[in-house]
Amino acid sequence: MPAAGRRNVTPDEPERPAIHVALGNEADERLYGRVAVGAEEEGIPCRLVPEEGSDAVALAFSAAGSSRLGVGVGVASGRVAVHERHMPAGRPVVATEAGDRAEDACRQAGSNAARLVIGVPLWLLQER
């Protein structure tokens, strides 16, 4: 059985379990790539999913709902949130500022999302 994570998901593999990532209307598209590499280093693939909205937590919860892994990341309005579908909608697992150091924050969010999947303690150095 092949280990996961070698490449990002291509559109013709919709069944492949992955962390779902949703960007808000005005979020920088490159931030998806940062989330994806954070997860890739831990061995879990990501998939960019189309969602509307500007609330990172709501985007993350919706993404978690559609992900077969049950984990989602939302980036919007200067915040990045990691969510899990078992949680109450208003309680993301982690939510951090993604202002100045948005790329680092997104990479760390991707890493945390992967860690939720595989069961490794999360990076929690920044404020929630």
């Binding site: 059985m1 280990a3 996961a4 061995g43 595989i118 069961g119 490794v120």
Partner: protein
Amino acid sequence: MSIIVGVDIGNSTTEAAVARIGDDGSPEFLSSGTTMTTGIKGTVENIPGVVQVLEEATEAAGIEISDLDLVLLNEATPVIGDVAMETVTETIVTESSMVGHNPSSPGGKGTGVGRTVHIRDLENGAPPEGPVIVVVPQEYDFEVAAGILARALEAGVEVQAGIVQGNDGVLISNRLPTPLPFVDEVAHVEKVPLGMLAAVEVAPQGQAVRQLSNPYGIATLFSLSPEETTHVIPIAKALVGLRSAVVIRTPAGDVQSKEIPAGSIKFIGENQSLTVELEHGADEIMNTLAQAQPLCDVEGESGTNVGGMIENVRQTMADVTEKPLAEVNIHDVLAVDCLVPQQVVGGIADEFSIESATGLAIMVDTDRLLMERVAETLSEKIGVPVELGGVEANTAILGALTTPGIDVPVAIIDGGAGSTDGAELQKGKPVEHVHLAGAGNMVTLLIKNELGLERFDVAEQIKIHPLAKVESLFHIRHEDNGVQFFEEPLEANLFARVVLVTDDGLVPIDTKHTLDRIRTVRQEAKRKVLVRNGIRVLRHISPSGNIRFLNFVAVVGRLGLDFELPQMLMNELSPFGIVVGVANVRGELGPTNAVATGLIVNYCRRRDDAT
């Protein structure tokens, strides 16, 4: 230029090395082969295996068997080892005085004390006086039982706890006005004596009973006198560490731990003969062996399992070498203590307890097997000349010397299935060698018995593959704590199971043991047998018995492939300041193929000396 093959027939595997000998007399290795040995080493039954490995190796070299100029066979070390284990203690519960099977989902929590009553006696109107413990056989649906108990409680009956046959402890407790402690999954609930004082304790999740595992706790619950408290010691001890338990105050009930006479062994030494009882444990057996050295022979008490095993091995060797029984002697014994789960006698709930056992490995060796017969028969069959190419210990050393970074003086530890062998070469001296009882098969037997497995091959797999725990349908956690994720879901029968990580995929182990318990058993078995014998071997063959005087030590044989054993050996030997590592035959084959390669090297060397 000629093409020759070296063939090593081992107890477990038959290996081959194919080489072209140039005009300058030096070997150019072309290929290798390996297969399972057929039959007992040293008999013509080995030939099908030899033919198979020749086919495999010649094909890999791009030639035919008919192209071979010569086949060299090892003068196989005539060693046969065997191993057996005897349980030497047992636990007996008399008068059904306790229940300690630790079901996974007991109901409620806390402690209850009262007289045991059958639940039907609560149905029938006449309510018992005083506190009661209710016994619920599985004929009573949990809802019916809960209803009866609820009504009884309402009517003022002092129901304190329950003993339940079905897996209904949580269901019943949840349906009462207040949760009470229930021990469930009690298989033979009809054995619970009625009308007796009893105590039931269920600890919170993650904790163990505190009162029933404490003799003064039992004394408090039953208002025992100091004299009576003395008698409940073995019961308290048997309940240590369990999450739930029941103690029933029967007149003469208790828990006994008895020794089982398993027979004796007699060590016949040059100067004296000493006998030791098996149930006295490994240390006493090994001490007695040491006192009886130098050892001439070993006998087991007739009519016992151990006696039977010893005579079987003697007979097998006599058959193979065509020597009379009287000339076949046991030359080494290894005794190991272990703990094996056994069913408790008299248990109410199919309890298991951990009992002591003694494992015994023995080894017979003689001077010569009838390898010439094998050589002749083989040569007829394949139409190629077959010669005996050298004593196994010598060829093993020569093969090991093809490892980069190694040089004489050199010692090898050759770990096989039936015996642990050692050899040492100092420049200009003949090779020293030794064979000890206890090797791969004993390790597997220890694993099998300490984990209570039914099949030897399952234990063998546990020995040679690392473990993992399936934590979800999509990921596993390896025994080194690393997590591996899968894109495709795993099979349902793997879910939450401890599995072996093999080249063919994940294999579940049918066991209740945790991963850590299995790993501990596996590592301890290797330590008690192989690490110990590795050191015994080196002491035997080192100059003056001082391991420090060995420069280079290499591990050969398939035990060198073990994923953790070489490191355990290296750690154990590091205080001696010597170079210890796994051989790398011809710089690429690891610890395998040492003898087969050495046969070729030896042939070239002798031709060299001759010219």
